[in-house]
Amino acid sequence: MPDAPLLKVANLDAFYGDFQALRGVSLDIAAGEIVAIVGANGAGKSTLLKTIAGQIRAPRGAITFDGEAIGGERAHAVVRRGIALVPEGRRLFSSLSVEENLAIGAQSGRSGGWTLSRVQQLFPALGERARQPSHSLSGGQQQMVAIGRALMSNPRLLLCDEISLGLSPLIVRDIYAVLPDIAAEGVAIAIVEQDVARALAASRRVVCLREGRVVLAGLSQDATREAIAAAYFGV
């Protein structure tokens, strides 16, 4: 890769108490690139995103963003650097309205092209329901709020954790359709996804984890179903 990558994860270990969830994971993501992270349940995909986002502690040097070591910084500081996580299960603030949920995403104070009106352009349903309580929305709309909220912090790296979970295929298609638009503005995107076919179609590169280790990494278009299956299950 000619340029220095936007995000560099080097030999990262992560723990839940005594349980080691990540073992020496290394990964690069360049600006504007979409990378899919796949693997079976418990492989460490979500842990990887949470560790990058600062929700799980990491050694300082294990994560480098835009040339600076950011491992061990707390989540709110990581957001200010330009990394936003769309958490699994959407995790909207239930006592905030749709618009407030989006507006609070701008809390980090980063300036950039993403504003309330642009997010509402991207997801028109959210503009129409701005004053509604967030829990009154459908699952797909809630997912749009979660993505919009993350975009409001004007991230340079967007981490998406299982954004298709529990949604109908049509809704998932709509949501995935916006990712290239976001990436086109130079935003790097990492997606953790159970649906491998969907993940491969949406990404340029794919990384497969198993038991906390990277077991396959390459261009998504080159990854065969058999290679992924072998990496997935270790057969």
Binding site: Y16, D18, F19, N41, G42, A43, G44, S46, T47, E88
Partner: protein, 350 residues
């Protein structure tokens, strides 16, 4: 095939032997200790009982009460009422006070259990205030200014002064041993298992068939029973009662909480160690007055934040020694001391 990789230990024989030896030596104390020492020891035993019961509530059952002075005062007032108005022998009035406390705890718990978590704590304090205000309405026991135990009642404990001191000493020792024994028994029984399940995860315990409400009622009632007895005994020693003294939050809750936290919350030995340390400190620092309480507050906060397992917790972790191991302990046979694959299958979403 399933490899077990662990076995189950019960243990605690050495600890039990030590505890028994100490109990025998203490029971024989009237043969060799001075009258002042016996009086002090009786106070220590009463506090050991109070602190152990508070520990049962807060440390083992998640019922953090700052209102146990309600039962100390109730016990004291029961002692005075039963001996003065019903002619009950003082030493018999002590268990009767316990029964009254346990009976009253049922409606009290029915109300207080409607408050969750931290609000339960303040609710228990309100209840103690209600008890105090009601006690100051009893004009036969001196209302707000209180009453002294008549000579005839005092004489009914035992004829001579020395015999009275011995009786109160033995009663205090017996109460402390009874309370600790009761708690060890409770925690080792199926109730104890239920309690630990509730403490770990109330919803999960409930889903697994533990009747959470009933377990809490039993524990709260037991604590009320023991605390009321301790109250009766304390005021038999003091010979004078007033609402402010009987329902004092400083004397019967602040001290008790501090000694438990310093000794070790959630361990049988913690309150015992804490009470001993507390009295040792008080002997040396008693002339500091309110500064002493202030210092205790600082020490308790520091202990809670920096050493949440208390003095005994730190000691037990260093040495692996426990007087009263609670129930079985699973010992893993591999070298790491950790379950070999217990974490498998979660990881991603803990």
């Amino acid at each position: 095939m399933i490899a077990r990789g662990f076995h189950i230990e019960r243990g605690g024989r050495a600890g039990a032997a030590w505890a028994l030896a100490a109990a025998v030596a203490l029971a024989a104390a009237p043969a060799y200790a001075s009258s002042a020492t016996l009086g002090l020891l009786a106070q220590v035993f009463a506090y050991i009982a109070l602190a152990s019961l508070w520990n049962l509530l807060a440390g083992f059952s998640g019922l953090v009460s700052v209102g146990q002075q309600a039962y100390v005062g109730l016990g004291g007032y029961c002692l005075f009422a039963l001996t003065m108005f019903a002619g009950v022998p003082p030493l018999l009035a002590i268990p009767l006070a316990g029964v009254v406390g346990a009976a009253l705890s049922i409606p009290v718990a029915a109300l207080l259990f409607r408050l969750r978590g931290a609000y339960f704590a303040i609710g228990s304090w309100v209840m103690a205030e209600v008890f105090r205000l009601l006690a100051s309405q009893i004009s036969a026991l001196g209302g707000g200014s209180g009453a002294s135990l008549p000579i005839r009642v005092v004489a009914a404990v035992a004829a001579s002064r020395q015999a009275r001191e011995f009786a109160i000493y033995w009663a205090s020792l017996a109460l402390a041993l009874l309370v600790i024994g009761l708690i060890v028994w409770l925690l080792r029984s199926r109730w104890g298992l239920a309690l630990r399940a509730i403490h770990f995860d109330e919803a999960a315990a409930s889903a697994n068939g533990v009747d959470v409400r009933r377990v809490k009622f039993v524990v709260y009632g037991l604590a009320a029973f023991g605390t009321s007895m301790a109250g009766a005994l304390i005021f038999l020693q003091k010979l004078r009662i007033s609402p402010d003294a009987a329902f004092s939050v400083n004397d019967w809750t602040a001290y008790v909480i501090f000694m438990t936290v310093i000794g070790g919350v959630g361990r049988i030995e913690g309150p015992v160690v804490g009470a001993i340390v507390f009295f040792a400190l008080r002997l040396t620092l008693s002339d500091l007055g309110s500064l002493y309480l202030l210092m205790l507050g600082v020490v308790a906060i520091a202990a809670m934040l920096k050493a949440p397992k208390g003095l005994w917790g730190a000691f037990a972790e260093k040495t692996g020694f426990e007087f009263a191991p609670l129930g079985q302990r699973v010992v893993y046979d591999n070298q790491t001391g950790k379950p070999a694959a217990a974490a498998g299958g979660q990881g991603d979403k803990p």
